[in-house]
């Protein structure tokens, strides 16, 4: 079994003070986006002050993966939780650019920056 198709997109969750760093891996497409979204919303329920989504392990993401992140964004805005994205691979970065969501999300270059 390989991570791209079978396991959860959210590989691990790690607390740094009151922030939580969520590590995502594998391709995120229609096959995995609803599980991705559910895992992300579960993170909000644990009441962090900030969520850092590390997309370093995501080689491919389409608009259904982006939609899961937009859903997370509106949830975090509602509940006053900070949200930052980090580790975008070139392909994932370009999906954000094409959909102009790179100006909507806070996208950081490093985890340090995202946690600062």
């Amino acid at each position: 079994m390989n991570q791209d198709s079978h396991s959860s997109p959210v590989q691990s969750e790690r607390w740094v003070g009151r922030a939580t760093v969520v590590e995502v891996a594998g391709d995120i497409d229609l096959h995995r986006s609803s599980q991705f979204q559910q895992s992300l919303l579960d993170v909000v329920d644990r009441n962090p002050e900030r969520i850092v989504v590390d997309l370093g392990g995501v080689g491919y993401m389409d608009s259904s993966g982006v939609a899961s992140l937009v859903k997370l964004l509106s949830r975090t805005r509602k509940t006053g939780v900070g949200l930052r994205l980090v580790g975008l691979t070139r392909r994932v970065q370009s999906v954000f650019e094409i959909t102009r969501l790179n100006t909507v999300f806070e996208i950081c270059q490093t985890e340090e920056e995202a946690l600062a």
Partner: protein
């Protein structure tokens, strides 16, 4: 063996999200052979993925027992100059005018697929297919790659 890349690959794909990674691998390699750079190949693959996703969601309403007819065609002689992707579903007829992208400024989940496709491909055409369903035809030209002049 000297051989050319000038004939289509025809595929009948189950309308299940499970198969999307397989189709991405297929088209990604074909784009590489045709001569697209990595970035452009990625955009073409993303467009097909978005279009297949729309067919699964909207034409088949999530039913996985449908079939999507796919034609992946390198176009041009003697060397390929473009790739043409045709996707045909057997879903309920839909007015092509209804298939359009929404206002991007309204930030909400969904409604980005058609925008991505139109942004990434050179030509995108939805038409009712003979015998029912919808035929989507999209073309990406080699010379429309970034860093090359548009014709």
């Amino acid at each position: 063996m000297k051989s050319v890349l000038n004939r289509p690959i025809v595929i009948h794909l189950p309308s299940s999200p499970s198969y999307l990674p397989v189709m991405r691998a297929t088209l990604g390699k074909l784009c590489e052979l045709v001569g697209f750079d990595r970035e452009t190949a990625g955009a073409v693959v993303l467009s097909m993925d978005e279009a297949l996703t729309n067919i699964i969601k909207h034409a088949y309403g999530g039913a996985e027992d449908g079939v999507i007819d796919i034609e992946l065609a390198p176009v041009g002689e003697p060397e390929p100059e473009a790739v043409k992707i045709s996707l045909r579903d057997y879903g309920p007829a839909v007015d092509p005018k209804k298939i359009k992208s929404r206002d991007l400024d309204d930030v909400r989940p969904g409604g980005l697929g058609v925008h991505i496709i139109k942004k990434c491909m050179d030509t995108v055409e939805y038409a009712p297919a003979d015998g029912g369903g919808t035929l989507l035809t999209m073309v990406k030209k080699l010379n429309s790659q970034k860093g090359k002049d548009k014709v």
